[in-house]
C-alpha cells in the first residue's frame, strides 16, 4: 500500500547521519515477525540497513518519543512524520514539550496502515509473514500456504476514516503533500448518540469491561505527557486492576479522555495499541465532535500555538444542560 519505500527512507536517513545533520534516527525496527514492528533509535547506516522497516505496519507515532530522545544527548534527532503524526508533533510543540531545534522532521505521505488484528481474523492462525503488493496483501501461513486478501479489507479503522493526508509539520517533505479530508469519522459516534441511555451503557459496559488496565493507551498517547500521572498514585487505591473492576469500566477511560480533551489530535494510537481491541478513539472523537459543535471547528495540532478550547471561553457559550440535550435533539 505504501508508496514510500523503506529503501528510500534508509537512504535519506543514512545521508543525514553521514553529513552530520542528525545523530540519531527514530524509526520502525524489525520485530520477530515482519508485521510486529518496534519503535527504535538507530545510530548508524549499518543499523538502518539491517533493521529499519517502513511498511503497512509502521503505525507507531513517534512524536511522543521526541520528548525523551531530544533530552538524552546533543545533536538532532531525525523523525519521520506521517500526516497524522505531524498533528501530534505540532500539538506537543504548542505545549512546549520538546525543543524544535533538536529535531529534523521529514514528512512522508501515507496510504493508510493495515490492521494486524483484521488480518488475523481474516486468515486465522499460523501467520509467518505478510507481504503487501499494491492493493493486495499476501499472507504466508504455517498450515494453509499463501493466502491473498485485498488491502482495503484489512485497513486500520482510523485509516479508513483518515482525517488528513496533509503533513502540517516538517523540515523536508518526501513526495507531494496531500489535503485535509472531509472524513466520516464521526459517523460511529453519531450512531451511538442515537441509542438510548441503556443501550449506550450496555455497549460501553461490554467494551470497557474487557479493559485489563495495562495502561498501554496512556503510555502511547502523544497527549498524555505528564511527568507524573494521576493513575500512578499509589494512594488512590485504584492504581492497579482489582477484583472489583468497575473503576476500569468507567472512570479510568472517562478521566483519560477528559485529560486529553481539546488536545487530542485523533491519531488513533490508543485503539491501535489496545490489546483488548476496545474502540477508545470513540471517546476522544465524542469530545472532538462536541467541541466542534459547541465552540466551533477545532483541530488540535493543525497549527502551532492555537488555543485549546478548554482553556478558552466566550461570553455566550452553551449551557451544560443544553449541551447534553443538544445531542438528543439532533437525533430526534
Amino acid at each position: 500500500m505504501q508508496k514510500v519505500t523503506s529503501e528510500l527512507l534508509v537512504k535519506k536517513a543514512s545521508e543525514l547521519l553521514e553529513n552530520g545533520t542528525v545523530t540519531r534516527v527514530l524509526g520502525w525496527k524489525k520485530g520477530e515477525f515482519s508485521y510486529d514492528l518496534t519503535p527504535a533509535v538507530f545510530e548508524s547506516g549499518e543499523e538502518l540497513i539491517k533493521d529499519f522497516v517502513f511498511s503497512d505496519f509502521s503505525g507507531a507515532n513517534f512524536s511522543k518519543y521526541l520528548i525523551k530522545e531530544t533530552k538524552k544527548a546533543d545533536g538532532k534527532v531525525l523523525v519521520f512524520l506521517k500526516p497524522c503524526d505531524s498533528y501530534s508533533f505540532n500539538q506537543l510543540l504548542t505545549e512546549h514539550r520538546f525543543d524544535r531545534e533538536k529535531v529534523y522532521a521529514i514528512g512522508i505521505p501515507c496510504e493508510g496502515m493495515a490492521d494486524v488484528d483484521k488480518i488475523k481474523k481474516n486468515v486465522g492462525d499460523g501467520i509467518i509473514d505478510i507481504i503487501s503488493d499494491g492493493d493486495r496483501i499476501v499472507v504466508k501461513t504455517l498450515y494453509d500456504g499463501d493466502k491473498e486478501i485485498a488491502a482495503d479489507d484489512v485497513k486500520a479503522e482510523r485509516c479508513i476514516v483518515c482525517k488528513s493526508k496533509k503533513c502540517v509539520a516538517y523540515d523536508e517533505l518526501l513526495g507531494d503533500n496531500g489535503e485535509v479530508i472531509d472524513s466520516e469519522r464521526f459517523d460511529e459516534v453519531e450512531k451511538l448518540e442515537k441509542m438510548t441511555d441503556d443501550e449506550r451503557f450496555a455497549f460501553w459496559q461490554n467494551e470497557l469491561s474487557r479493559c485489563i488496565r495495562c495502561n498501554a493507551c496512556r503510555d502511547v498517547c502523544p497527549a498524555c505527557t505528564c511527568e507524573k500521572c494521576v493513575f500512578d498514585n499509589p494512594k488512590s487505591g485504584v492504581e492497579n486492576k482489582a477484583i472489583s473492576d468497575s473503576f476500569e469500566e468507567k472512570m479510568f477511560h472517562i478521566i483519560r479522555a477528559f485529560h486529553v480533551a481539546g488536545r487530542c489530535t485523533d491519531c488513533g494510537e490508543c485503539s491501535r495499541v489496545c490489546p483488548q481491541g476496545i474502540p477508545l478513539h470513540l471517546l476522544n472523537r465524542k469530545f472532538i465532535k462536541d467541541i466542534n459543535e459547541f465552540y466551533g471547528e477545532y483541530q488540535a495540532g493543525a497549527e502551532i500555538g492555537s488555543r485549546a478550547p478548554l482553556v478558552n471561553y466566550t461570553l455566550d457559550d452553551i449551557e451544560p444542560v443544553d449541551a447534553v440535550k443538544k445531542g438528543e435533539a439532533d437525533n430526534a
Binding site: V189, L192, E193, D197, D198, E199, R200, F201, A202, F203, W204, Q205, V230, G237, V238, A242, S244, S246, F247, K250, M251, I254, I255, A257, F258, A261, L283, K286, F287, D290, I291, F294, Y295, P309, L310, V311, N312, Y313, T314, L315, D317, I318, E319, P320, V321, A323, V324, K325, K326, G327
Partner: protein
C-alpha cells in the same frame, strides 16, 4: 421529603464561596426548606471543581451531583465560571454518551440573593434524582466501604 417509600438519594452540591454558598445561607436564614440529604461542599470558585471531583463523588456513591456557581459575568474572579461552563458541558455530554442518565448531573447558577432559587433547585433536583433511583452505573464497590 417523601419519595420512593423513604428512599433518600445522596446528593453532592459543590457551591462557590461567593454566590451559591451565600445563596444557601440565605435559604437557611429565610427558613426555606431543602432536603437534608444534599451535602454542600464549599469551593472558592466553581472552576475549582476539577471534573474528577464529580466523578469521585459518583464513585463514592453519590446519586446526583450539582454544581452551583455565580451567574456568568458575575464571577468573583472575573472569568472562573466561564471555564466551568465549558468543562461541565463537555463532561456531562460525555457521561451521557457513556449511558449515565443526564438528570444526575447539573450546573445551576445561583447568586447570593437567590436563596429561594437555591432551595427550589435543590428540592427539584432531589426529586428528579430520587425518581431515577440509586446510582449503580458509576459507583465503585471498593469505595463503598
Amino acid at each position: 421529603m417523601q419519595v420512593n417509600n423513604g428512599y433518600q438519594p445522596k446528593i453532592v452540591a459543590f457551591c462557590c464561596n461567593w454566590c451559591s454558598y451565600a445563596g444557601a445561607d440565605l435559604a437557611g436564614n429565610n427558613r426555606l426548606a431543602y432536603p437534608e440529604n444534599v451535602k454542600i461542599i464549599k469551593v472558592p470558585c466553581s472552576c475549582r471543581v476539577n471534573p474528577m471531583f464529580i466523578l469521585r463523588a459518583f464513585q463514592r456513591g453519590a446519586d446526583g451531583v450539582i454544581l452551583c456557581g455565580c451567574h456568568p459575568g458575575d464571577c468573583h474572579y472575573t472569568s472562573g465560571n466561564y471555564y466551568t461552563r465549558r468543562r461541565m458541558a463537555l463532561l456531562f455530554s460525555m457521561l451521557n454518551f457513556l449511558g449515565i442518565e443526564k438528570e444526575r448531573t447539573r450546573v445551576e447558577w445561583v447568586s447570593a440573593a437567590e436563596g429561594a432559587k437555591f432551595a427550589a433547585t435543590m428540592n427539584e433536583f432531589c426529586e428528579t434524582v430520587a425518581a431515577l433511583g440509586e446510582n449503580k452505573r458509576l459507583e465503585d464497590l471498593r469505595c463503598k466501604r
